[in-house]
């Protein structure tokens, strides 16, 4: 078994730390553990929260305790530390028109590619849902190609529309709320991450794979109009 550290958090959680440096292999180990725990949840477990290098297990302190949860998770480690996770492939549609992609020109000059080349590089990559955070439905998608990796902008822009497709460093994100952001805005999506489907309220599970598909303006408008009605 590889190194793992358990931190007992307050009266209601255990943080399982699998490493310290982000890597695809480590994130995959976190997701494998997450699946193993949820396939046979220990008594009193409330939920797990997978992230890049660790996982939080929240429990009901009236039913169980830190030691029992830690022991149950240790057993799962021994049982299953192999096997590749193949997440479901999800498609997210993007319109890259200038007024929906206010930073496309700046990205294009910063990475020394034409705007079309930036779009194609973005479209040709496959992304993985590493974790959610920041706000409901904000899924951090790893896999931005090295040629497009840029630091955050120095100042955040306010009131960026929901559905904006953002990049910063190796991460890509499709926003679900009107929010400020310091990431580069390279397009707008018509695909809803908050689906309004009570059986499947979020489009992605952690570990899913994502591909972007280009749509033209009329398709974008038709689809967003449908959503508004």
């Amino acid at each position: 078994m590889q190194s793992v550290t358990f931190y007992h958090v307050a009266d209601h959680a255990v943080l399982v730390q699998l490493g310290n440096e982000i890597s695809d292999a480590l994130t995959e180990r976190v997701q494998r553990l997450d699946r193993a725990i949820n396939a046979s949840p220990p008594l009193g477990l409330r939920e797990t929260v997978p992230a890049f290098v660790n996982l939080l297990a929240e429990f009901d302190p009236l039913v169980t305790d830190h030691h029992a949860i830690e022991a149950a998770i240790r057993d799962l480690f021994d049982a299953d530390d192999t096997g590749k996770i193949v997440g479901v492939l999800r498609t997210v549609q993007v319109c890259y028109d200038d007024d929906l992609a206010p930073d496309l020109a700046a990205v294009s000059s910063a990475v020394n590619l034409s705007q079309e080349a930036v779009i194609n590089t973005h479209l040709n990559a496959e992304y993985t849902v590493g974790m959610y955070g920041f706000a409901p439905g904000y899924a951090y998608l790893s896999g931005v190609p090295a040629a497009l990796q840029l630091p955050r902008k120095t100042a955040a822009l306010r009131d960026i529309a929901a559905g904006s497709v953002l990049i910063a460093g190796p991460q890509c994100l499709v926003t679900t709320l009107t929010m400020p952001t310091g990431w580069s805005i390279i397009g707008r999506s018509s695909t809803e991450i908050l689906t309004h489907d009570p059986d499947r309220p979020f489009l992605f599970d952690v570990g899913d794979r994502v591909r972007f598909q280009r749509i033209d303006r009329s398709t974008f408008e038709a689809q967003t109009k449908e959503v508004l009605i």
Partner: protein, 341 residues
Amino acid sequence: MTVASLRVTFAGPFVTYQDAGRAGKLRFGVPASGPMDRLSHAAANVALGNPAHSTAIEVSVGGLAMTCTTGAVTLAVAGGNFLVDRARETLDGWSVFTLSQGETLTIRVGQSGSWCYLAFAGSVDAPQWLGQTATHSTSGFGGGQLKSGQDILINDAQVREDRLGAIERPKFISTDMNIHAVRGPQDRFFTADSIQTFQSNDYALTSAFDRMGVRLSGPKLELAGALSIPSEPITRGSVQVAGDGVPTVLLADHQTTGGYPKIATLQTDDLDKLSQKRTGDRVRFICVSADDALQMTRKIAKKRTDYLSSLAEPKGSLNQRLMRVNLISGAIDAISDSDPN
């Protein structure tokens, strides 16, 4: 079905609908939300005979005023010590009373407390998100924030004479400055001096205080070196420290992941105790082991269950209560008559 309608005539900021919250969605970036003071929310509900998790209005220090425009309904207020005026009559801040057509209710900030709960004998017609009415304040999802001019609709509205009167306050919750916390999960990133500083100095709540979190002021907490921690899960009650050395306690609408180190995480009941404090109030963090924090939670949970069960008992009809008062005053008279003092 009997309907009561109440028109909001004034609503301060951060006045929202809250049921007990939508637990279990942290992995999708969704905190549970729900009441900042979970016990007071439950107390207001059970004092009316409602299930503890029912939808109520969380009133901030900004206050709330309303007029009953249709029908009549019995309401309960609990949490902190707010000033409650019903039809120009001043009530205790923990009370059950009835509001009828044409009567007004005003809830204003009182001598202590940042949040109180207004519950209704009936079913509050509030929008749901993911099956709950709890409002996530940053998105507005769920029941939402109350605004002047808005109507609050109560379906199956009831007048409950058997519930009227004062609500007993929970005596097992102290209001002193001590807040129990468990160190970590990233205390290893702080200097030994900072850990000591955190436990041996007072910190005050600042005005940067909303449902997401509250920034504290006090001695700075230094990190043991420049850090870049990968974004990781956050739980309610985390004390995170940004690069400026200032601690922030994360509350009901916290972000679910983040990259700032957490020096400590508060015990559940003491988190709600801290949430009820006001800007300028001082706290002292008492660090205990995770095992001790859990034992503390279990002990309080027993008292909480007994307390809520006793509030859930109806007080009886008006006649029954009058009779009880007469009997008691009669008995007291009898005692005083024979009392040599």
